[in-house]
Symmetry: C4
Subunit: 268 residues, 4 copies
């Protein structure tokens, strides 16, 4: 029994062989299935026609998730640590709303909690751990993070200054009802989204809006530059074509100009 | 006759000399001509004035395409394989609607099928096979594909989570009628398109919309970074044209202006 | 007199010393002045108040441009070649409308021709010839041009296919009145501009719109990648920090690893 | 007392130890606090409920800023130079409006001046001087500045030409009331913001709008390319942290994992 539990634990928590990866794939399908049901159920016309089928499927998915939750609780050696962990709470929240719906009638609140089931996707994204491509993007973004943060801070300062300016220039009569709303407009404009729900009407407002747009158009270059230069730097190790192998020790990261192996010191 | 058939086959299916390339160019002009007619015919006022001319031209183009289709069927050794292939079906669909229009009266459906004629452009794009520039872009995108796919998967996860969140926050009374519609809005916002047909009205909705916009503004850097670093890497082999080899020691990274080898000091 | 004509010719047509550059700067100010007048005169309220002042200034600018035009005609040895050249015609068009306005009363047509005066800015942009920064951008774009063209061709193919598709799906009742209008909408969407004057209403239309948006979001990476990799390549000569100077002949483009000078062959 | 003044001066004007940095952080919190109050106070509903609390806090912040201003005046050796400097005036403007509000009743004008308090954030951004990340972005942008300026100049020329063209094509009856408004529209379109408050209605106008959009979509590559290639160049010196020097021959490009020198073969 101990070996079986150890094996099950391996299947459920890791994903480095075909069985454990299969478990993750099944879980992924279940999560996407349950999320798809929730998405379709939100369409009024579909809800009226297939509402009961959706409900049955929902119950089915929830039972499977409950089984999985109980399995995880049983398998972990430090049960409480898992239950109170981020993943543990997310797993609990994924099944709780349906059980609560038997007692509570407030469906609006329940759908809010049920939406949290989407967070479970994060767990499944650990599958990506074995995809070097995903790692590449994640690592590039992680090492770009401090620069991106400073960039976002600068953007928010511009948004604050420009939002206040536009609030003063255009005023509530042209839709800029308060500084927070003006800041919302400044973000809409600076990021080049441009909904058009609020637009400047006065010549001075249009002039400053133009400045913000050109600014946004120019500074989009900054995050792009940061990530690109980070990715270009990371790219190098892939250039195996430009590397040669040491004939003594087999170390295969020597550069073309190297005369001695970096690992064993032998002449190349 | 056998030689003639072989020659015709070469002209129709390949494009590596002036005659076969000429055939492709004529085909390209015919496709663009027929597509232009279809585009102009969709304008109500032009249809009323020139409708009959458009119809005659349409018949003419269709006859030429039919001739070409029969030629291809006759020339291919494995006829059924061609007829059932992707290109074969596209070629058939390009001529079928006009013939069907003699029997069927549903013009709306016919125009749907006729629109598929546009797919024939793909066949002509094989002309690009000989344009190294097109190859450069295609290759860069192909090797970026796995990273771009993961990026799109992450974007869709964000869209799913944010769409659900906005549906819960704003609700049907502010235009977010269902989760699919909210997801459509999230894509409109994240990609910085910003139609403005649906916009958040509540302060909380505007706050989360701002988060999505800033997110979209920052993560546009990711595909750009991926493609750019891919293209920068690919760029290098092209530079070999500008390099020359030392005749003494064989060092092959000399630049065109160099008079002496950098490695052995010998005159080049 | 001949020397004076030669000197004047140098001042008017070249810009490599302070006097000839001063002439270009004065011309630049005059062009911007006349353009600013035209811009301000188009505002109804300003036209009503300052219309007559604008008109006087307009006459003044035109006289100066006429003087300059006659000077150019007199100075060029091959007069007809200049008069019929692109610049010659632009220079003529810059002064013609005002003279025509004495005879013709159609002001709408005249303002169209007067707008062409803006093309004169191109001539003054030759000032940039001496700005290495402008050259850098121009050269990068010029060598990116074939790739950008192929990119634009692909974009237009997507626009054609997607425009037809959306015309068929949404139809005239939702604002997609014809294929050209649908193509206009597809460009608005693909380039992430998103005016919102035409928006999809049907679920299928919104789905395909989402596809176009994500496509546009992803392929923005292509022109960026092209130009960036072109600029990065061009950047290299600027890296003077990583270069060393030959102690024998003074050649200053040696790389750190070089043991012999590329120009004189001396040991470094 | 002299030493104390010198110490205080160090704390207030510099930020290279924990005490002086602490002073900057406190200042940052105060500025953000006062700005947050101003932002929230602009919301009508919050103003009505918490108006008096906001006012008290405002007075408190102003007193602290006044204290800080007097401290700075007292500490600087060249008092008038500070008072009349950019920072001196910004510091004065940050406190003046509240004192003026005791005498003047025009709150609209006062809120304009009070908005200038936001400029104080710039002073605090000197904190960033010690953040190498912020320096990296600032330096990259600074050395990109001349190219970005030329780019913006080109963009404005396009905006001028396209604005005039659209004014002539669409005219006041379709919302393009004057050339300045048309230029505002051209900026909205070229930067891919696309509010949709003004949109072309005529086929010719939609055609030229499409050209502007494709142009804007393609030239976004230019600032991105400039900044990215600048950042990629700058990246290199940062990598020195990860390199070590050979103790035998002094070759200083060894990587952390290397055991033998690549140049002399000696053990490291």
């Amino acid at each position: 029994m101990r070996l079986s539990k150890k094996y099950l634990s391996h299947v459920v928590f890791e994903s480095n062989d075909s069985v454990s990866r299969g478990f993750d794939v099944v879980l992924l399908i279940l999560i996407f299935g349950s999320v798809t049901i929730a998405v379709l159920d939100s369409v009024q016309s579909l809800h009226e026609t297939y509402g009961s089928i959706f409900y049955s499927l929902e119950i089915g998915f929830t039972l499977l998730f409950t089984l999985e939750y109980l399995l995880r609780v049983w398998l972990t050696s430090k049960t409480w640590k898992y239950v109170l962990s981020f993943y543990g709470l997310v797993d609990l929240l994924a099944i709780l709303p349906v059980f609560l719906s038997f007692f509570v009638a407030n469906t609006q609140l329940l759908s809010v909690i049920r939406a949290l089931r989407l967070l479970r996707i994060i767990r499944v994204l650990k599958l990506g751990r074995y995809l070097s491509e995903a790692n590449f993007i994640r690592d590039s973004l992680r090492s770009s993070a401090p620069k991106i943060q400073i960039f976002l801070f600068s953007v928010l300062t511009i948004v604050l200054v420009m939002g206040t300016l536009m609030f003063v220039i255009e005023g509530p009569q042209h839709g800029f009802t308060s500084i927070p709303v003006s800041m919302y407009w400044a973000i809409v404009t600076l990021t080049t989204v441009g909904f058009g729900d609020i637009t400047p009407s006065t010549p001075l407002g249009q002039f400053f809006a133009s400045v913000i747009m050109l600014l946004g158009y120019a500074i989009i270059a900054v995050p792009t530059g940061i990530v690109t230069s980070e990715m270009s730097k990371r790219k190098k190790p892939d250039d195996f074509d430009s590397l040669k192998t040491c004939t003594n020790c087999g170390f295969d990261h020597l550069e073309q100009g190297d005369k001695y192996c970096r690992k064993c010191g032998g002449s190349v």
